[in-house]
Symmetry: C2
Subunit: 201 residues, 2 copies
């Protein structure tokens, strides 16, 4: 069961709640404790959780069970396969990112238009020239791409990822990509992060 | 005038509105057009903008003027000075990030505990060994740090930044930093981005 029919704001809250639960060492957590950590009203918490099925009791929610239920509801209970596109400094940083191993995301390939770079770079996963993108994405059922190419190559690289059958892109290039409505995008723009920080200094 | 007394949700909306305005090529924009692009009600838009002073007219807002007013209200009209801490792959990617030049953020220094790396790396800005952090932060009035060190060094590097007088940190290390309440933090965790993406695939 993937992607329960829950609203976007509920999904966002469940993602955040999952993070809190994963850090929580206690066996159970109450909706008031969640309210305290998040600022959401207890009613909101109860409504979000009850959308997943009746999980609560008088003493609160069992953290391990609630975590795994949320993971299931958000499609995070199965491994997603990733590729990195663009093996410059940023892309090659992710090639060797150990935290993937402990997560539900599995990095399986890297791509670059520069064939030399593909041959020379040390990497734990196989690297391929960019023209093989569609073939490799299909062969390994890759569903998410980390887009780490320079700004002027980002749209064409995204087009190739999508042609290969990818469903989602984490975009590190500082441009807004034009993609079909069925493709999900997360933009990670350091300038936006800096502005959001500066506005609260 | 920095940091007008506007609420956190208003600030967040103004940040997003600024992005829209900067992409907008038209001379003016109406609150209905903003409503269409953002999903916020026209009333919310008008209230947010009127908090900055009476800027509207019957034909809408003048985009250039509204942008500069928002920038001023959010403290984005002055240059903020940055440093990068941790000059591995990710950190050295930011050392040579050209987009900073066109922004209100100026990268002025890089730090690493590895003195060899500091001497060998090619960089447009001066690099220093980590023990000089406090001295250099004060000398160049650096107010924001990009934290690019490995997970196990992130807290101690953050402590050094804060001891040096930094006000804000963009944290790329996958841990939640413990910092005093007057320090602002933005976490950029690729696993969180991937989860947020996967939940909407």
């Amino acid at each position: 069961m993937k992607n329960l029919e829950v609203s976007t704001p509920t999904k966002k809250r469940l993602l955040y709640l999952l993070k809190i639960l994963e850090k929580n060492k206690a066996i159970s957590i109450t909706s008031s404790q969640i309210e305290e950590e998040t600022g959401w009203s207890r009613d909101t918490v109860r409504k979000d959780v009850s959308a997943l099925g009746g999980l609560g009791s008088a003493s609160g929610y069992e953290t391990a069970h609630l975590s795994s239920t949320i993971r299931k509801a958000l499609g995070l209970d199965k491994k997603h396969r990733l590729c990195v596109v663009g093996l410059g400094r940023l892309g090659s940083a992710y090639l060797n990112f150990r935290t993937f191993n402990a997560s539900e995301f599995e990095l399986v390939a890297g791509f670059d238009t520069n064939v030399n770079r593909v041959e020379i770079l040390s990497s734990l996963v196989p690297l391929y020239p960019a023209y093989k993108m569609a073939e490799i994405i299909r062969r390994f059922s890759i569903d998410i791409g980390l887009l780490c190419v320079p700004e002027d190559q980002a749209q064409s690289a995204a087009d190739k990822l999508i042609a290969g059958g990818i469903c989602g892109i984490v975009n590190f290039a500082p441009i807004v990509l034009k993609v079909p409505p069925n493709i999900s995008i997360r933009n990670v723009f350091v300038i936006d992060e800096l502005r959001a920080l500066a506005a609260f200094l």
